[in-house]
């Protein structure tokens, strides 16, 4: 009788310790998850800002200005334009 009690006590202690450990692990993992989610959010925000930056740099007015003024580009005039009709029925969209 006393032996069984001792074994059960040992088992109980082991289980209790296991519970504590797993709970601790859960919390740690959860904290990590939180951190990752936070980072995902941050990255999302950053992505938005980068998109914004991209469209600001890529503004057509700006691109056109640089092309004309700095790169001295211009539209080809009619004499230098040759239109190649698409062979298939579909127009080149």
């Amino acid at each position: 009788m006393a032996r069984i009690n001792l074994i059960l006590l040992a088992l109980l202690t082991a289980c209790a310790l296991g519970l504590v450990t797993s709970q601790d692990k859960t919390r740690k993992l959860f904290a990590e998850l939180e951190r990752e989610q936070e980072q995902a959010k941050q990255l999302d925000v950053e992505w938005g800002q980068l998109q914004l930056e991209q469209s600001t740099w890529a503004m057509h007015a700006r691109v056109e200005k640089i092309a004309r003024e700095r790169l001295h580009m211009s539209e080809p005039d009619a004499k230098r334009t040759q239109i190649v009709m698409p062979a298939a029925a579909g127009s080149g969209r």
Binding site: R27, E34, M59
Partner: protein
Amino acid sequence: MNYAASPVLALRLPLWRSRLLLALIAGGFLVLAGRAVYLQGLNNDFLQQKGESRYSRVLEISATRGKITDRHGEALAISTPVKSVWAIPEEVQFSTQQRAKLAALLEMPPREIDKRLNDATAFVYLKRQIPPEVAERVSALHIPGLFQNQEYRRYYPGGEVMAQVLGFTGADDVGQDGIELAFQSTLAGISGSRRVIKDRMGHIVEDTESIREAQNGRDLTLALDAKLQNLAFSQLKLAVDSNKAKAGAIIVLDAKSGEVLALANLPTYNPNNRSRLSGAQLRNRVITDSFEPGSTLKPFTVAVAIEEGKVRPDSMIATAGGQMTIGHATIHDAHRFGDMTVAQVIQRSSNVGAAKIALSLPAEDMWTMFDKVGFGAAPRLGFPGAASGRLRPYKSWRPIEQATMAYGHGISVSLLQLARAYTIFADDGELMPLSLLRVDAPLVGKQVISAATAHKLRDMLELAVQPGGTAPRARVMGYRVAGKTGTAHKEENGGYAKNKYVASFVGLAPASDPRLVIAVMIDEPTGGQYYGGVVAAPVFAAVMGGALRMLGVPPDAPLQPLELPPEGSEIKEGD
């Protein structure tokens, strides 16, 4: 003294005293047990709540507003988080040095900060919507009584180019104008909340329940083409500036799908910096303003006459003399020619011709045509404040009114309605529904006139942009163009202002298989020229040419440089 020898022990007390004491103590325990059962079992809400409030917190999960992109996915409006700095003035304590640093970070004079703090006691915003980096440096100052909360701010990379179409949002990220308002329910996110357990350090240790999922706003893909929009805007700006006009507007429609590819207004504003705005800047004239369109309405009258078999394009109309009297009123043409064919009435924009054709028609038929192409009813776009224009019931038309309506007076439309109405000429008689959003499945139009009539009208409109027409400046190299000028006196105080005009041009191209309809309106040009063919047509030509090239539309005319008539020699339309 020996304890056992204590005389107290020798006392014999009555038994009931110890019994009574026992009973009292037992009773006390019972009361405690009862109270414990009551608090923990029967009425435990209050304590449980108190307990939870020590560790459990409800967190707000913020949702972002959807972004607006053009048809190719280019971002036109994006929300990014910003911080607002607020204070509880009673609790604020800072050194002069800290104050100076704070003022520098917030870019406001130190006196302004003092003023704000002194004006309120409980709560005051010091500055709203500052970038997160600045906010971080503000919090690094560790000033007590100073707090921050997160807000969203909407940025518009396109700036003034498409300000009136997109509209803007308020400080709380709610749409207040334009598409931001029209599609508020789609764009808006719904913030959620969740319950978590926090430890004493403030870290979240467990997620207990999700009260409401956050729903981010949906993204919106517009029909707008950012490149085309920019082209339309810059050409419009050029024309408004060079003609010293009060305002201008342009709309580009895809003739096949009814999508609004570009829509620009002047004057405009920068939606990213909205201090000092006037109503004139905010107004989306294309959609919300109606005006008397003038001669651009002539093709509709002629379409009715042709549709009913009253005239053919080569029928002669007695326009000799260039004027006509109905009752007390006289209608004039700007030029005197002899008699004209119906096609020439359109080509040279003869008021007398249009009026004579109109008077040969029943008023009801003209009204039906105007009604069918969408005049007098606000277009169903969902856009706030879309104008319906004015189309009076035909029963009240007097003959002079019917005659003037033929050339676009006594009736008012918005530029949007006008451009849409022209889709019947572009699309073989079908009126296309308009869409501000990208349309992926082809839409079905509504047949208004027969395809044959539409073709005849298109041929006439092509004549109008040829030399000998009113708008040779509307021609585009490499493409056949069809269109009509309009020059109308402005209505003012119930009459017509003598020297205030609205110049307009509506056209389509390529005429062999129209892809685009463009309508241009220049309000009160004061640069000396005011005819639609001189003021508005060049804008049309520049935008149409550029747009067709951008879309890769194959040319349907030989690529020969166009010869423009010398200044002032072209035929002016009647006004």
